[in-house]
């Protein structure tokens, strides 16, 4: 991540000098994560795309005033969140991320269905597997990394509750460090890890039932 942060700085300098390739590269790099973040505040993908476009226009308009006290990434996401909130309020759907995160992290949701474990009263193996997982490599006629599997992973992530979806997207799809996710979304390390773990566990469970078909 340090490497990316450094080259963000370099791209920013080139952008200030009016370098179109630098602008294109930043748009390529950040529009995906921006869209996913904005999608939490607005009702449709089409509106999210508009907000992301407005964000980039905001970057160009504010570039002279941006002093680089925060990272480019943080600045970019702040612009996007502000615009998404305004837009979301107009579209009557405004959700503060931190309270969504609190709500989702506070729900009691086991990573694996409790009935797959032996009960607390088992004489020898309490809370151990009753129905253990099967190795995915050993499943006949399945390529773990097939196109179909990837579509299933994408769909499973899409269906996650919004805070979990956002955290797994930034951590596992976009490869951000946990500290960057916490700073950008303004959530605690603990909540971030709880949300990420829920998200990964649900996607794993979904893949397990898919591979079992």
């Amino acid at each position: 991540m340090v490497l990316i942060a450094d080259s963000d700085g370099a791209l920013l300098e080139r952008l200030r000098a009016g370098d179109e390739a630098a602008f294109t590269e930043l748009v390529e790099r950040y529009s995906g994560p921006l869209m996913r973040l904005v999608r939490m505040y607005v009702p449709s993908a089409a509106v999210a795309e508009e907000v992301v476009q407005e964000t980039w226009l905001g970057v160009l308009a504010g570039l002279d005033r941006f002093e680089g006290r925060s990272s480019l990434r943080t600045w970019l996401f702040q612009i996007a969140i502000n615009r998404a909130r305004t837009r979301g309020a107009r579209e009557r759907r405004t959700v503060p991320f931190a309270s969504l995160a609190d709500h989702e992290a506070g729900e009691d949701h086991p990573s694996v269905a409790p009935e797959r474990f032996l009960g607390a009263d088992h004489d020898r193996w309490p809370h151990h597997w009753a129905t253990p997982p099967r190795r995915w490599e050993e499943l006949p006629d399945r390529h773990v990394e097939s196109k179909e599997t990837m579509a299933r992973v994408r769909a499973a992530i899409e269906q996650l509750p919004p805070a979990q979806r956002t955290v797994i997207t930034l951590r596992d799809i976009e490869g951000w460090e946990s500290s960057e996710v916490c700073n950008t979304l303004e959530i605690s390390e603990t909540n971030q890890r709880v949300l990420l773990h829920r998200a990964r566990s649900r996607v794993r469970a979904d893949l397990e039932s898919y591979f079992a078909q």
Partner: protein, 83 residues
């Protein structure tokens, strides 16, 4: 040497992300590793969990539509001319 209480499977599946992020306390880390060494089912589970993370890493980022990109580029050119 005092023996640490065993970490049962049902507890282990809840703390894998903490383990992978290095956020487990030292004693829980030791319990996690001791259990994993002995339990084949949990090894399989952890492997599925890692595979899930790896698969998510291969999901492509969303992209702007070509029209949206074009509009941004032309806005950029306007901005540069005005600047």
């Amino acid at each position: 040497m005092t023996e640490l209480p065993e970490m049962p499977c049902q507890e282990l599946v809840e703390v894998i992300t903490d383990y992978l992020d290095g956020a487990l306390a030292a004693t829980d880390r030791a319990r996690f590793e001791a259990h994993l060494e002995e339990c084949e089912a949990c090894q399989d589970y952890v492997q599925q969990f890692r595979q899930t993370i790896a698969l998510a890493g291969q999901v492509e980022s969303e992209r702007l539509s070509p029209q949206a990109r074009e509009q941004l580029l032309s806005a950029f050119r306007d901005w540069r001319t005005r600047g």
